[in-house]
Symmetry: C2
Subunit: 341 residues, 2 copies
Amino acid sequence: MSRPLNRPLTLRDVSEASGVSEMTVSRVLRNRGDVSAATREKVLKAAKALGYVPNRIAGSLASQRVNLVAVIIPSMSNMVFPEVMTGINSVLEDTPLQPVVGITDYLPEKEEKVLYEMLSWRPSGIIIAGLEHSDASRAMLRASGIPVVEIMDTDGTPVDAMVGISHRRAGREMADAIIKAGYRRIGFMGTKMALDHRARKRFEGFTQALAKAGIEMADQEFYSGGSALSKGRELTSAMMARTPDLDFLYYSNDLIGAGGLLWLLEQGYDIPGQIGLAGFNGVELLQGLPRRLATMDACRAEIGRRAAEIIVARTSEPAQDIETLVTLAPTIDRGDTLRMP
Amino acid sequence: MSRPLNRPLTLRDVSEASGVSEMTVSRVLRNRGDVSAATREKVLKAAKALGYVPNRIAGSLASQRVNLVAVIIPSMSNMVFPEVMTGINSVLEDTPLQPVVGITDYLPEKEEKVLYEMLSWRPSGIIIAGLEHSDASRAMLRASGIPVVEIMDTDGTPVDAMVGISHRRAGREMADAIIKAGYRRIGFMGTKMALDHRARKRFEGFTQALAKAGIEMADQEFYSGGSALSKGRELTSAMMARTPDLDFLYYSNDLIGAGGLLWLLEQGYDIPGQIGLAGFNGVELLQGLPRRLATMDACRAEIGRRAAEIIVARTSEPAQDIETLVTLAPTIDRGDTLRMP
DNA sequence: CTGAAAGCGCTAACAT
DNA sequence: ATGTTAGCGCTTTCAG
């Protein structure tokens, strides 16, 4: 008990306590190379008794290896990214790699800053949301020399690898399904999406498909901030007052869709006969609403998994071959709010 | 362009490119010490041109300082921890400190493992959820010699600092409010809480307060897994079938409470006259339901902020004095489902 | 199977 | 205002 308090323990302490060289202690602690069972025991005992925790900073510098995967996402508070994280974790759990998360709040400047900070830790790989980045960010990604996987979206050109869905196509397909079901007076509600490129692409795909069928969007409204559920309520009530003859409402996410659904049910609308609804994301949370909202799964967990698998394959020794341009195909779930054709 | 591809740049590269010593380059890049405006410019220009990103691994080792705060929480997928993170972030944003998150899934063994990994990075501070830890974890925390803030709960003895609410008291106060409002046949629904100590303490406080008033819990049920909204629906419908004369339902969280609320409304129950409801957490998401569920704010963002402030104060030079045993006082929000006395 | 020497990329502490 | 020297705690490499 003579160690000066607050000096963290080093390999050397364990070496002295066990009477084994630092090098061999290091070998034991990393299960590397051959060490006799006897010395092994001695070392492990000493390390445990002292409460030694290796210093990864030093280890990483010496070995030029950091088992970190930088995960850069816009937000953690909506339902989508926690599930992506779950997918990533499920794959990395069985490897020495560890995810480290950075949040950008959908701001390019913040993304740039976060990326810089992350790169300064020299991670083994980067998983980053979206294909749209500042020039500086893209340059950093390219120059990093490590595997980069851009996730969520496949409508664009990745720096390196890419896993996601086509949001443009997702919008198109939902539009097609809505039209096939016979709806004609269609309204749209969604976030102000200057910086949410995926929401924007869904919207573009949606309107395109409508146009192709000779249909013009009958009404649309964008919001920002606030609780999504009540926003959905407010927007829907305002829109139905303004354009009472709408027979379908497409929402840019399930939560505002759910708010709209609750309001319409209260008002006594016949769903999906008189009016149909659809959202986007396939949020599990919403199971338990009076009706299941039509939606489209964004393949969140799968995207996380596939992205992590690419990093794992690329960082394994020797590097495994693996598909690096992955476009997943989401399917429509009609729920109870989008009638069959 | 003669640098061998994939060798990360070092200070030395910038030094050579700018004709300034490594030390001065380092000073410029860290805004430390006096450097003439002229050399400053030269260095910055060279660094930018090369795309140099400092190596923090080396920097941390040399300076014996790592501006990381380990945040160890059970989960990221419910509503509570993302908001705690928001609070933490809001404070750390203005400091050099950076949060790094570890997830325990409510498993003590996993907490131990995550804690060990985190400590191996020698963070400047630790924020960890709960007061219940394995002996090994507690030993690591104590031995780490860095500021430790245990958050969420104050019913127990912390290793070091502590910020939270008393969940036992939260349960008691809700029980008192329910009794004062005249409800007598009370049912409880919540998660199986062997490992969720805070839910358990709320439950204990609740039953205690009922007992004190001579009331016995009329029915209770525990669930695990599944979507909370539909669980709330199922449990409520089952419980009302089994014990039809219940006049109040206390839920261990707002989400299952919301499920119950939706079901009861559909069945035509008179709320809060015939039957009252309350949840816990003060989840903003739920604004927009047909009725506002009575709840109690868990002070999530505030907890995060105060915890981060403690770490900041303790790691600043010289260490600031700050309150390290913080018990927040949550208040009841009666919403539309708990009538006045 | 074990150990000794060298150095990872940076910064603290002194020079000058 | 700038440079020099000596490590930080570990792992790589090479010798026994």
